[in-house]
Structures are given as C-alpha cells and as structure tokens.
C-alpha cells in the first residue's frame, strides 16, 4: 500500500514526536526536585494522539511501558474529552490504573491546537514519598493493602485552565513526608508535558493536522510490522521457566513466578498460569507492571532501541495472568515495593525464551537494592527521605562477561556520592566491587557491589532487596553468583544481619552495609581462558584461591603467572560442575 505521506515528512514528524517526548523528559529532569528524578531519571514521558494511542515514549522507565498506553484512557473515563480545557492537567497515581505502585504519579495534559484538542502529553514520575507507613512508601512488611502505602489519587484535575487548585495541592501537601519535593516534582511533570505540547503544536503548525494524523497511522503500522517481522523468524514453540523471589518479609516463604512464553505465528503470548497467589504485603506485581516487562522483553528481542516505543509495537503481545495471582493481584492488594521485581520479571521471561534466542540469553543478574532511610534531621528536625539505588552486575552471555553497575533493565542513574552527601544526613564510606562475588563461567557474571552507608542521625531504615536466599543462577553450566546481604554495623560486636525487606530503627553513627548479589555466569568455568582468569586476579576481582577452586586455573602466588601444566592437570581431573539455579 502506497504511503499517504512522503518519506521526508514522515521521518520529520516521527522524529518530532519522539523529540517532543524527549523534551518532556529532559524538562522533568531539569526542573525536578527529588534526587530520584534529578539524578536517578526514574520517570518517563510519552505523547498520544486524540484517540489515546501512544505515539512515542522515551527510552527510559521501562516499568511504565505497560501502564503508559492506558493512562490516557483512564483519565478520559473520568474527564471526557469535551470537559477538558486548554491548561488542564490531570494527575493519577492509583496503582491499578497507573504503573503498579503509588509513588508513580501520572500527569496528563490535553494538547490544544487552534482550540481543538489534538492529543495528550504525559509524564510519569517516581515520587520520593507519597505517605503511608514507610518513608519512601515502598515498605513490604506489615502491609496488607494499599491503604497503608500512601495517598491514592484517582484521576484528579489539579490544574484547570492553567490555574492550580490549591485545595487539592493542600491535601497532597498534608499527606506526604516531603511536600516541597513532591510538589516540586508535580510541577516539573506539568512543565514537561507543556514542553512536549509545544513541540506537538509546532509539528501541527508546519504540517497540518491531517498530515500528522496520517503520519501517526503510518508510524504505528510500520512499527507493528517491524516487530512481527522479527517474531516471524523465531521458531514457533512454547518455552517455560520459573523463578523464586526470596520472600515478602520476615517469617514468609519464597514466592514462585512461573511463565510459559508461546511464539504463535507473529504473536507472543506470555502465560503466567501456575504463579503463586498474591501476597499480603507490599510486594506484588499489578498487571500493568507485569505487562511492562512483557513489552520490554518483546522489544529487547525485536526492535530494541531502533524504534522508540509506541502502541504499534505492543499489538503482537498477549498476556494470560490469573487474577489474584502475584503477577495480577486484586485490589486492594499492596504493591509499594514492586520495583524490586522489575528485572526479575524481565530475566525470567528471557530465561524462558533462551532456547528460542540462545545468542541473546544471559545468566541471571544481581538483584538491585532500593533501600530508603528517612526521619528528621538536624536541630530543626527537617524531614528527609534518602532513597538509594545500589546496582550490581549483569549475567554473562555468549562472547563476554557481564558488566557491573548497569541496571539490568531500568535506566536509573546512580546518584553521585557527592550529591547524596550534600543532600542527605549520611556519609558513604565505601562503594566497591566485591571480590569473588561474580558467578563463575566461561563468561563470568558481573561482580556484586557493596555500599557502606553511615547514618548521621536517628531514623528509619526500610530495606528493599532480594537474592539474600536464592542466588543469581548461571546458564549452560555457568555458576551462580554470591548471595546478597544487608548488615548493620559489620565487623563490630553489634553486627546484625538485616532482612532484605525489613524496616528498622537505626541510630546516629550506625553503619549499614548494603551488598548486592553477584550475577550468574555463562558456560562451564573450566572453559574460561586462563588469561582472563589471571586478569581478574590481577585486578582483584577474583582471588588466587577462587581461580583454582572455581576455574581450575593455577596461578603462581607471587608473579600470578598461569601455571600451564598445573592448570591442565587440575582441569582434566575436575568433575563437571553441578548445574546451579532454582
């Protein structure tokens, strides 16, 4: 079918829509107030047409991939199109309509061009706190429903015709721990939407509404075709995998997630039948969040970054997720801590697909840690919430070792120590790769990371971590990485192991060590090039003993030269390593 628009116009309009979303994102980051937004880039942005179809979403915030497409439709149920006016902004953080936990707030702005609504600009931000029982609103323990997790906004028009509604803002102000940051980020979100709206109007001005609409159809159809063309080349089949989350708090057991991924023609069906029921805690994966990672994996094995996310690329994806299960909980189930699950879902889906796309498969990743420390600091008792992200390594894959310090799926940036210390009552005393933590393999996993945080005032520490019990598995005879741990005052008489989801009172001067797991290896470690083992030893990532024990490589204790004969003898003698993983 011949295209209705010429290729140059189509590429400019497409580029312009993506640029509009990117400009929204950049504005949010540059005008935002919380570290999570400013430094961590924990937000996303998208632009929609009048039908509520997602035309472009920025390449950040994969956890919002599953909810962004539906956000506008939810808003329209409460505020039909004819009731919206230029200058309106509607906010929403309901976890079931939104991205799966209350800290993520959507801001939606109708875009008007020559007095007609022509589309929507949307941003979604992770707010540092939305109230509830735990500072940061991401607690796991003691949560039985989302009413304990903070303030919940069904779609609410906060700005009408450009004027903010002070009553609504006052309600928000009264229910969150850091109103200055939250209100600042809410403003930043709207400014981001306005920036995108401005760009969209520029395109309409130049090309006219008909052309832009024709381009939108083309963009979505071409994107869908691109995904289907790649899926068509994957052998049809049904592949299963399962994974265990440590638990959902002290005294609870492992949580099983099971998936079968079916390649049906050019469709991908993700079937979660057999997954454990939802938990009575802050750890569940609402459907929109589960969906996010089905979309993420689909893109990772098809169009990747080449085509920015839009509604067309999601058309080939279907989900089967039993209601009331861990991956599709019923209201009012809580989910404040669902961020913990992001790459666990992604790597589970990829694990299932490994036989279909073995060249892409990797060992399991380190689980990240997302602890928060909150309280009141200084003589004036200024409230604070220190929200941190500690990222470990990626699993090894065919051809290379897993990298360290890049998050497996999400794109948050690590908050610099110098910024953290300037903003929060903590001092970071060590931030380091952990020796002998990487899962051994022909291609090893990335190392675990350890961060020692000295707290400078009393407060509440709420942990959010995993892989304290189940290590990151290896693939194809690769070995699992070291377990994660959270330790209070390590190497002192008062040393205490903290639970991965526990919430604790800590005192000024306490040291909290957050250590994330090592990532899983790929392939038999005895096939690893001895020179690579030697390099790891010289760099201090692997000890001489581990080189021998894990890799069967004998190194001279002083020169660290490879003892070729000793290595051959040891490797020949060695038995095949056990197959790891759950």
């Amino acid at each position: 079918v011949a295209s209705l628009v010429d290729p140059v116009t189509l590429s400019v309009v497409w580029g312009g829509l993506v640029a509009a979303a990117e400009e929204a994102a950049s504005t949010v980051q540059h005008t935002g107030y919380s570290e999570a937004v400013r430094e961590g880039r924990d937000f996303s942005a998208g632009v929609f047409d009048i039908a509520g179809r997602l035309l472009a979403q920025v390449d950040i915030g994969p956890g919002h991939l599953g909810s962004m497409p539906f956000a506008v439709q939810h808003m329209l149920r409460y505020y039909p199109l004819e009731t919206l006016a230029p200058g309106d902004a509607v906010y929403l953080n309901d976890l079931y309509m939104g991205s799966g936990h209350l800290p993520d707030v959507y801001c939606m702005v109708p875009v008007f061009f020559r007095e007609l609504c022509v589309g929507f600009a949307v941003t979604c931000c992770h707010h540092v706190d939305v109230g509830g029982s735990a500072p940061g609103s991401q607690g796991v323990e003691g949560i039985v429903d989302h009413y304990q997790e903070g303030l919940r906004l069904l779609p609410v028009r906060v700005y009408h015709q450009g004027i903010p509604n002070p009553e609504v803002l006052r309600i928000i102000e009264g229910n969150v721990r850091l109103p200055h940051k939250v209100l600042g980020d809410l403003r930043a979100q709207r400014l981001g939407c306005l920036a995108a709206a401005h760009r969209m109007c520029g395109l309409l001005e130049r090309y006219g509404a008909d052309t832009v609409t024709a381009c939108a159809d083309e963009i979505l159809d071409r994107s869908e075709r691109a995904v289907r063309e790649v899926i068509a080349r994957i052998p049809p089949g049904r592949h299963e995998a399962e994974e265990y989350i440590d638990d959902c708090g002290r005294g609870t057991g492992p949580i099983r997630i099971r998936v079968a991924v079916e390649i049906q023609g050019t469709d991908l069906v993700f079937d979660f039948t057999g997954t454990d029921p939802q938990t009575a805690s802050g750890l569940n994966s609402p459907l929109n969040f589960t969906r996010s990672y089905c979309y993420w994996v689909t893109k990772a094995i098809t169009t990747q970054h080449v085509i920015p996310q839009n509604e067309g690329q999601m058309r080939p994806v279907r989900l089967v997720a039993p209601e009331g299960s861990f991956v599709n909980p019923r209201p009012p189930g809580g989910a404040g801590a669902r961020a913990l699950l992001n790459h666990r879902l992604a790597e589970l889906l990829l694990h299932a697909l490994a036989p279909a796309v073995p060249h892409l498969a990797t060992g399991a990743n380190s689980s990240f840690a997302n602890p928060t420390f909150g309280g009141a600091a200084g003589p004036t008792g200024t409230p604070f919430v220190f929200y941190d992200v500690v990222v470990g390594g990626l699993g090894g894959f065919r051809g290379a070792d897993g990298s360290e310090c890049i998050a497996p799926v999400f794109s948050v940036e690590l908050i610099p120590v110098e910024i953290t210390e300037a903003m929060e009552p903590v001092r970071i005393e060590r931030y380091a790769l952990v020796t002998d933590s990487a899962g051994a393999g022909q291609y090893r996993g990335g190392c675990g990371i350890r961060k020692d945080i000295r707290v400078l005032c009393d407060g509440r520490f709420t942990n959010l971590a995993d892989r304290h019990r189940f290590p990151a598995w290896g693939l194809f005879d690769g070995k699992p990485g070291a377990l994660a741990a959270t330790i209070l005052n390590p190497d002192t008489p008062g040393e205490t192991a903290l639970h991965s989801k526990g919430s604790y009172h800590v005192k000024a001067g306490d040291l909290i060590r957050v250590q994330v797991a090592g990532a899983g290896g790929y392939g038999d470690p005895r096939l690893r090039d001895p020179a690579a083992v030697r390099r790891d030893v010289i760099e201090g990532l692997v000890s001489v003993e581990a080189a021998r024990r894990e890799y069967g490589v004998v190194l001279h204790p002083v020169t660290r030269e490879v003892d070729v004969d000793g290595t051959r003898a040891l490797r020949d003698r060695g038995e095949r390593p056990e197959t790891p993983g759950p």
Partner: protein, 692 residues
Amino acid sequence: VYRLGIDIGGTFTDYVLHDETTGTLAFHKRLTTSADVLDGLVDGIRGLLEQHRVDIGTVREIRHGTTLGSNVVVERKGPKTALITTQGFRDILEIQRGRRYNMFDLHIQRPTPLVPRQLVFEVRERMTHTGEVVTPVDVREIGDVTRRLRELEVESVAVCFLHAYANAAHERQVRDLLAGWLPNLPVTISSDLSLQAREYERASTCVMNAYVRPVIGPYLRRLGAWLRAAGFRGDLFVMQCNGGLGTVDTVAQFPVRMIESGPAAGAIAAVQYGRQVGATDVMALDMGGTTAKVCFIERGHPLMVQQLEIARMVMRRGSGLPLDVPAIDLVEIGAGGGSIARPRLGTIQVGPDSAGADPGPICYGRGGSQPTVTDANLVLGYLNPRYFLGGRMALDRDRAVEGIQAHVADPLGLDVTRAAWGIHEVVNANMVQALRMMSVARGRDPRLLTLVATGGAGPTHACRLARELGVGTVLLPMGAGVASALGLLAADMRFDLVRTDLRRIDGDVPIEPILLRLSELRERALALAGGAARQGEAPRVDCVVSMRYVGQGFEVAVPTTLDQLMARGAAGLVDAFRQVYEATYGELVDEPVEAVHWKLSLVWASPDVTLSERGRRGAAARGPTRPCAVFLPEANGYVTCPVYDREHLPPDGIIEGPAVVEDAESTAVILPGDQARVDAYGNITVKVRWDV
C-alpha cells in the same frame, strides 16, 4: 605580517597562511605522517613558507589544532597511569553512573576505564561537601603509595578526592608531597580541572588529563623548540574543545581542554562560512580522511555541551568517558575517505576503521591493500587521478579497481562499479544517520537548513547526502578542504573556568562577597590561562551563572558580566534568572533561588578572517577544463560531464549538474538537476533537487 593555521587530522594536515597586509589566504594540504607527526608538520610549514616566499620571522602567530589527544584515548595508547583517591572509593572509575544508554540492549557494557583497577590507590583522607576536613591526609600512606608508583613504573598520576571541588587542600597537599618524592612524575589533581560536584565525572576528567599529558606536553614542547630554532618569534596557540584557543602552557598542563580540538575548529569555520552567505541555521559536515564530524549551528552559534564524551562505544550519550569540559556539541563517526570497506554477512560494511595516511587507500600506492571510500570515489570518476592535492599526488585507479574487485566485488558477486557505488552509498548512509540525529531527531526540518560541507571528502558526498535528507541548500565553500585550519584563524582566544559555589540568591544578598569570589576566580583563570602570553591585552570577561530554584538538581544558564553584577546587585541576578527560566520552561514559581556554578570565560577576540573577494590570486574566469566520466545511478552508468577548476570560476556563474568542481584540496560533485551558483568569494551554493 602573517598568521598561520595548522590542523592535523588522522590522514591529512591542513595549512592556511593569512597575509594580514593584503588579506589573502594561501592553502596547503598534505598527508599526516603517522610515525612522527612532527616530521611532517615541520616539512609542511617549511614547504608552504618557501612556496610563498615568507620568512618565518614575519609570522606573528601560529594556531594549531590536533586530534592527537583523542587518538591516544580511543586507541588506548597512553602511558601507564595511576589514580589516587579517597579510601573506600577504589572503584570510582568502575562504578561510573550506571547509565543504561540503551534500554533494550541485553549485552550492554560500560566503557572500560583508562586506569585499570590494580593501579588505583586509596588513601585515608576525607572532606565534607562543605569543605570541612573529617580526616586529614595520612602522609605515611602517601609514602607507601609513592613506593608502589615507583615500583610499578607509573608514568603519570591522577589525584581525585571526594568533595575536592569544595576544598582542594588535600589534593594540593598530595600533589606537593608527590612532587617532592617523585619530581619527574606528572601529577594532575581534579580540582585544577573541574570545580564541580559529581565525583565520577570529575575523576574521569582528571584521569584522562593524566593519561594524555605525557603525550601532549612533550609534543608541544618539541614543536615549540623546532619553531624557535627555525626563527619563529611569534606566539603559538592551540585549539580547545570549546572552540577557543589556549596558550601552549595551559594546554600542556590541561590537555583535556584540547582533546578534540580539530573538529571544534571545523565547526568555527562552518559558522564563518554560513555568516558569509547569510545562513544562520546550519548543519556542518566535516568529512576528512579518518572520520566525519557533524555539528549543528543555530542562529549563528554552534550548540555547546557542558560535558564532553570521548571514545563512545556506540552513537549514544552515556556510552563514552565523560569530561567536565565545555565543548562544541559534535557527533563523530568512522566515515572518512580512508574508511575501509569489507563484505559482512552479504552486505558491504564501511568503517569505522580507517587506512589513515599510512598505508592509506590502495590508490595512494603507499602499501594500502584494503579498499576505502577514496578508492571507490576514484573508480566512480568523482576524483581526478591526476589532480589529487593539486596534482602533487598521483592516484592509481587501476590498483583501486583491482582492490575493490578482489575484496568487495568478488566476495559479494558484484561487478566492480556496483561494488564501488555500494561503498559510496553505505558510507553516505552512515553519515545520513548522524546528520539525522542532529536535525530530524531534534525535530528540525532539514529542508530549512543549509548543509555546509567541508573536509577533503565533504564536498564529494554532500549533494548526495542532501538528497537523502531533503536538505534544500548545500554550501561548498572556498577552502573547504582546509576548513579546520581556516577555523583556527577565525577563532577567539578563550579560557573557561567553572566553580561550584552554592549560594542562596535574593535581593537582600550583598553582592560584594560574590564579586570578591568572582575576581578570585578571574585571577585563577588568568593564571591558569597563562595570561602572561597576551600581556597588555585585557580579555573580555563573560560570566555565566547556573541558577535554579532551591531543591532542583539542574540549573539554567544565566549570562551576566561583572559590571552588571556590580551595578544591579543580587536582585538583578534574580531578575535575569527569572527571565531565562520563564523563557525556557514557560512559567515561574514563587520559591527561593540559588546559584550553583559560576563560569567565567576570558575571551581575547581575534581579527576577522574573511576571504577577500576573489581573494586568492585573482585568477581569470575560465569555463570547464575537460570532460570526465562519472558514475551516476540515475543514469545507471557513467555519464560524461564537465569539470571546472574552482580557481577559475566566474563570480555569479551558474553551473548545472552534473558537474565536477576541483580545487587542490577537495573535489565537489554536483548532481543532475542541481543548480550551483558561484559567489564573489568562490563559494558554491547548490540548490538541491531533493524531490527527484
């Protein structure tokens, strides 16, 4: 009196000699010698001056640009470099910022640090973010580290401590201790380069400086010594990433400031050319022998970035090594005349590696055996084998044909012309992608832009690229082949220094302490800039304050001057902030404001360099010299078309494509349907029929 601009690229070295008395310019281009860059440079200077009978003693200034620094980093050819950092932060270079520069890449890798983990040493010391000492420097530990540095034969060392931007005392103390114990070891401290918070970026800047310093310093010293011995009594200046020139002393000490200096000069040239023809929104393409550089010029100014990235792994922000260095925003890709073509998975791949000058393309006959873009352009008839570098270098077309046949055509089952065209097309596609990133991907319509094509190979490819992009106007400027050297002559002298100094700003804040801090910063900038070299000439001082609402993490840039601050006080600064903020984001809030970074730029303006009308030699107008056969896919074969000598083009002449326009430094190809107009300066403006 004369001024001389010299730009060393990976393949060619370009020279422009400016006669300040007559306003004429002389161009020269020759291969870069890869064994010892300086040998070729010296020969080139000597040859050019002899040719024009100029005594080196009458040259007032030499301005120099080079990619030597980034080559050292990209090729990891620097010396053994160590890092000394705060206890607990050995992995400062490994942990980086965790940026997932590609959200969907399952095999993403972070850039490998320049200093391996075993050469990072921790010492006990600690500051707070306000610059208070928590733990003093453990001097005994520095002694231990010194011994290790000596044992390991470390050649350069970087020192980066946490919060050194707030208080540099510990870094300076360690530098002084090391200077006492290891007097020959160059020591770089982070607080001399960047006074900004964010430890990884500052450490990366510091380490890269240490890494390139032992290469750049000796190079500049040798160049200076040779010039003096040859009788040069003027000043030598070096181009920096910010598009301004610096003194040799500054640059030798802080070589990161010039790490990408050649491309910056090319961008300055494009600004100049654009101004000459009245084009202010410009896409600049500088295609040399090794790489192509793309830059966007908006309203007559190149886009700047506050942070530069070197050695990107992929064409995405976040995949390279960051530098806290203000720089012209450039995208560089491995698409030059020397880019090597090879078959891959049944397709043709071009670059990113280049044959460079040595061995160079096959047709150079210098031992190159792998076909390149230049070989393809020769086979396609775009280049004249007898007029390359003005006829000073004969190109061997037969060998180019054989090479493309053997290495590309045969493996892929193509005839040699199709293979050559394929190479030309693939390298074009790579450049189109980069140009799209700069225009379409930022929502800018290429149809409204002017493409300014420079570099030896730029004019050969430009009209075809314009067609792909839908660009309406292409400028093929006079001196395109030596544009970077020309840009050197046009650039101002400039030194930027940024300090993080967090202050609440409102109408009640007294301005005196701020002015005092700024004059300290100015003194420090003057000292670092080697102000002595321009004695008697006070620079213009531009000040840009980065400001935000209290609680935000990013700032807007508020331009001001010391005079304005003095006259209008802090209230004036707040007003200026509100104006910029509203213009940027559309609305204001009633919240307190703070200033974060204070950037001072010392600027010594350069005299204007415009080509005098028909300024080169006043050559007589002449029609096409001879016909030649060029391959045009539109005609599915070779088409005979006229060849013009740019020297002899009549002003206001019109050329209908297809046609070839030659000069000694580059060759322009004008396509069928395109119409070119020659202006009084010898610049060619092409109206492109992109809709054909």
